[in-house]
């Protein structure tokens, strides 16, 4: 933060370029792998040579794999950004939309939306937003006025909100007896296989302004991490900035959740890894989280659909298998 602006800018460009390469490589890997056995060479011939080389494979790549890879990338970017914002705002390195129950709240809203027969966009998405805002408000209400225990009480409250949300989800699933049940369960497990480009486009329309906003407020986030008194002293309207950040985050998370179901721990893994390498400057961390989180999610989805010999497993399984042990490790480290 004390570094001169041009140095920060230079770092920003280098980091973004490196992560962009990583991101593009994961996207290419995502386009190359799939359930039908198509060799990498044939995929490349389509990517280079166009549709004429192999019309069937072109359809598979551009209209089945591409929407899925794009969706995974956007969901990963959103979840990872969500983690970064929560960690800065709540000044807690373990804050993450899934662990805090924000994703769960969005999921409840989305399920109610599905049960009421709304379309995925905008009905279900809107219900998810209402759900995530409600859980966020509940969480902040529960933890307000207990600054001494804040770090632990926030996490504990989050875990409880999350447990409550899981119970509500189970309740909603168990009272559903018809064909919608399958829809809900597959969606909950994080099924991205049926996405089309239109859906990916809708998600992009919601996420892009949020990303711009976060980048714009990244310096404010730097100041917020130093504590609200310091931030106030420097002249940040802490309340307004926090409110804008929280609302935008929960909008972003609910949009991601209503498309991909519950996927946890992405917001923990990526920001931590990036902070470890890049340091605490949010002006660099915001674009890094978007590109890194996107690439990470594409990789997790890739593992989810290629590891099982038959069928697929939910992407949320992969992210949890990686993220949960990391969470425990981080928890132990912050304690000692």
């Amino acid at each position: 933060m004390t570094a001169p602006l041009h140095a920060t800018l230079k770092r920003l460009w280098i980091v973004s370029a490196v992560l962009l390469v990583f991101f593009v490589l994961t996207m290419l890997a995502g386009l190359c792998a799939g359930s039908s056995d198509t060799g990498v060479r044939r995929v490349i011939s389509v990517l280079v040579g166009g549709e004429a080389a192999d019309p069937m494979l072109a359809t598979i790549i551009w209209r089945i794999r591409l929407p899925r890879v794009l969706l995974a990338a956007m969901v990963g970017a959103a979840l990872s950004m969500g983690g970064l914002v929560f960690q800065a705002l709540l000044r807690n390195p373990l804050a993450e939309p899934y662990i805090l129950g924000i994703s769960g709240g969005a999921a409840i809203g989305a399920i109610i939306g599905i049960l009421m027969g709304f379309a995925r966009f905008p009905g279900v998405g809107l219900m998810a937003f209402v759900g995530s805002m409600a859980t966020l408000a509940l969480l902040l209400l529960m933890t307000s006025g207990r600054s001494v225990l804040k770090k632990d009480s926030l996490l504990l409250s989050g875990v409880m909100v999350n447990a409550f949300c899981s119970a509500l989800i189970m309740f909603l699933v168990s009272i559903t007896q018809d064909a919608r049940l399958h829809n809900i369960i597959f969606w909950l497990m994080g099924d991205m296989g049926m996405t089309d480009l239109r859906q990916a486009g809708f998600l992009a329309l919601i996420l892009a302004p949020c990303f711009v906003l976060f980048f714009w407020l990244s310096n404010a986030m730097n100041l917020l991490t130093m504590g609200s008194e310091t931030a106030l002293a420097i002249g940040i309207n802490v309340k307004a900035v926090s409110l804008v950040l929280l609302t935008a985050t929960s909008l972003m998370i609910s949009a991601a959740v209503s498309h991909s179901g519950l996927i946890g721990f992405v917001g923990l893994v990526m920001p931590h890894l990036l902070r470890l390498v890049l340091g605490p400057d949010h002006r660099v961390l915001v674009p890094a989280s978007i590109l890194g989180g996107g690439g990470y999610m594409v990789l997790c989805d890739l593992l989810a659909r290629t590891l099982p010999r038959q069928g697929e497993m939910p992407a949320g399984v992969v992210t949890a298998l990686i993220g949960a042990p990391l969470f425990i490790y981080l928890l132990k480290r912050t304690k000692s």
Binding site: S35, T59, I60, I64, Q177, G193, M194, G311, E312
Partner: protein, 311 residues
């Protein structure tokens, strides 16, 4: 004589005219219109399908069974994971399970027609396939009559109406035979048909298993508006079924354990009279021609006295 000869010549002339006309129509027809027809499926959608579908993907095990029953398996390009009847079907390429279809594998098989079931295949998959220019015809078998109609419809799609009519007639005759068999029985045994072990799930009035039970002269104790109602153990015991039929996906010790569990409750007639039966589920839950076999089996299970057994 001359009249008959004239008639014959007339008929030949007519045939030649038809053939020429047909050939002319084919030559004159624009490329796009050649070899395709427009049909309405059970979702009420107009679907343009080829006149001669050559690469058909059956999106449910029941569809696979119907295509095999129609002896049109040479047209099959792919089936779903649990398509295990007839055994030859297991060797065909798989496109995921019928609720969790693998879009990419379907496209990779280059199908010119997919046949789906309305209840079961997610609507979003049907929509996605149509977006990708793969015609999907959805059937909606909900009871014995509509299963027969599905056979007839698929017969029409695959240009084998005659075979389909034969199968339909056979199914109708066998159903009628069962109706006559049970018309005379004085008492309709109370049947609890268990399709789910944990939770205990049975079948409501809107299912074809319900229709099979009632047609086979039984009384479905789980009838009602909920298609697949859940039960607790004490509810089932309270219903005092005369027969419990547990369907299983595979031969497994779990089902025998469930059977032994029910058998403990001796004040339940089914337990007292040793009428708890484990049966393979495929004959009952697949809307295919074999459903009639399931019906005939049910009559034997519900009314053994009609076949010389003790009730």
């Amino acid at each position: 004589m001359t009249g008959k000869a004239q008639q014959r010549i007339g008929r030949r002339f007519f045939v030649i005219l038809m053939v020429l006309g047909g050939a002319l129509a084919l030559i004159l027809a624009p490329d796009s219109a050649r070899g395709v027809r427009s049909v309405t499926d059970f979702l009420g959608r107009r679907v343009v399908i080829p006149d001669e579908p050559r690469r058909v993907v059956a999106l449910a095990p029941s569809i696979t069974e119907i295509v095999y029953a129609l002896e049109q398996e040479s047209r099959l390009a792919g089936v779903t994971r649990f398509s295990d009847y007839p055994a030859a079907a297991t060797r065909l390429p798989k496109v995921g399970s019928y609720v969790h279809l693998d879009l990419e594998r379907i496209v990779a098989l280059r199908p010119d027609l997919c046949i789906a079931v309305k209840d079961g295949n997610p609507k979003v998959v049907i929509d996605r396939l149509m977006q990708l220019n793969i015609p999907v015809f959805a059937v909606n078998p909900t009871n014995l009559e509509t299963v027969i109609q599905a056979v007839e419809h698929i017969g029409r799609l695959l240009n084998t109406e005659q075979k389909a009519a034969l199968i339909a007639a056979d199914m109708r005759a066998r159903i009628e035979h069962v109706r006559q068999q049970v018309a005379e029985v004085e008492r309709r045994p109370r049947v609890f048909f268990q399709i789910g072990l944990a939770p205990i799930v049975s079948v409501g009035s809107a299912t074809f298993i319900h229709e099979l039970i009632e047609t086979a002269g039984g009384e479905n104790v789980a009838r009602g508006d909920v298609p697949y109602p859940r039960f607790s153990r004490e509810q089932v015991i309270g219903l005092a079924p005369d027969v419990i039929i547990i369907t299983s996906m595979a031969r497994s010790a779990i089902f025998e354990r469930v059977k032994a569990e029910w058998a403990r409750w001796k004040h339940m007639p089914a337990a007292r009279n040793n009428r708890i039966i484990v049966q393979e589920s495929n004959l009952f839950d697949r809307p295919s021609p074999r459903l009639v076999q399931g019906l005939e089996l049910l009559v034997k299970l519900i009314h053994p006295q009609l076949f010389g057994g003790s009730p």
